[in-house]
């Protein structure tokens, strides 16, 4: 029993775990707001490239573990401009999210979700949760838990083939 507990405690968290969603194959609900830098941000403005809509919170430990992977994913695709990340604050304050990003890095747009209406539109159950939107604006995949840059790239390669 002790061995089993030790095994679970030392295991890496499940990553790139895809899940079903009624949104798969359907147009992604639009998200628009003001990002942490005070600039207007909108998911629909990124048509023509892949967008990973990432719901996160500063208090969420898997989100903290996932954040470097999101940075890596954005950096890998920056030159080509074929994919990016769009963050949505889930059940957290903008001040906490801003402090988290200042501490951890990341330059993708992140918007607040007052009232949780965006999370409701996407059917989010808890952070981190991400939705991969294709260049045509349809939802291609849903991820429950942390994602990795390599895992996302494999899915992008399959979707682009």
């Amino acid at each position: 029993m002790a061995l089993f507990v030790a095994l679970l405690a030392t295991r890496a968290p499940a990553v790139d775990k895809q899940a079903t969603s009624p949104l798969l194959g359907k147009p992604a609900p639009d998200i628009q707001g003001v990002d942490l830098a005070g600039q207007p941000a909108r998911v629909a403005a990124d048509r023509g490239r892949f967008v990973l809509v990432n719901f996160f919170a500063s208090w969420c430990v898997p989100c903290q573990q996932e954040h470097p992977q999101l940075e890596r994913f954005v950096a890998m695709h920056k030159a080509k401009g074929d994919a990016t990340v769009f963050g949505v604050i889930f059940d957290d304050t903008t001040a906490n999210a801003r402090a988290f990003v200042q501490r951890s890095g990341g330059d993708w747009p992140i918007v607040a979700d007052p009232g949780g209406t965006v999370a409701l539109d996407y059917g989010v159950r808890g952070p981190p949760e991400s939705y991969l939107i294709g260049p045509d604006g349809t939802v291609l995949a849903k991820f429950i838990g942390a994602v990795t840059a390599d895992g996302l790239d494999r899915i992008l390669a399959r979707a682009s083939a």
Binding site: P22, D91, G115, T117, L120, D121, G123
Partner: protein, 150 residues
């Protein structure tokens, strides 16, 4: 068999009444607030364990309550509102299974099991009744005739 026909008819009537009661329980004039509260109680809180959207104070539950209230105010039907929520989270967000598709089995199977159980009991009683009556033998008749002749 004729003796059991009324019982069979009664069983069918009870089954039909159960189905009708299950289907009509949500109808009736209600205020928008009461209707929204009833619908909230049928939706699972997405970020909690074992709580409905009506019971939880989580942000996701509050968002669901606000959406349900908005759609009730817009005059949408109960089914359309529940479908709208299930269309975002999946049908498992509903605490009460829908009465269509695969979920319909949840409602149909208990009624079917009840009808089969009643029919089985009717058959069992019939067999039991026959076995207790038995058949009259010549020896039995002789005993009766002798008794009468005394």
């Amino acid at each position: 068999m004729r003796r059991w026909l009324p019982w069979m008819a009664l069983a069918v009537m009870v089954a039909v009444a159960l189905v009708v009661a299950a289907g009509s329980g949500s109808k009736g004039a209600q205020s928008e607030t009461a209707r929204a509260a009833r619908l909230d109680a049928q939706i699972r809180c997405p970020t909690c364990k074992g709580l409905s959207a009506a019971e939880s104070d989580a942000e996701a539950a509050r968002a669901i309550r606000a959406e349900v209230a908005k759609e009730v105010h817009e005059g949408r039907s109960d089914g359309a509102i529940l479908s709208s929520i299930a269309g975002r989270y999946g049908s498992d967000i509903l605490l009460r299974p829908s009465a269509s598709g695969f979920d319909e089995l949840v409602w149909v199977l208990p009624v079917a099991a009840f009808v089969v159980a009643i029919a089985g009991l009717a058959l069992a009683f019939r067999r039991w009744h026959r076995s207790t009556v038995g058949s009259v033998t010549d020896a039995d008749r002789a005993v009766v005739a002798e008794a009468r002749g005394r």
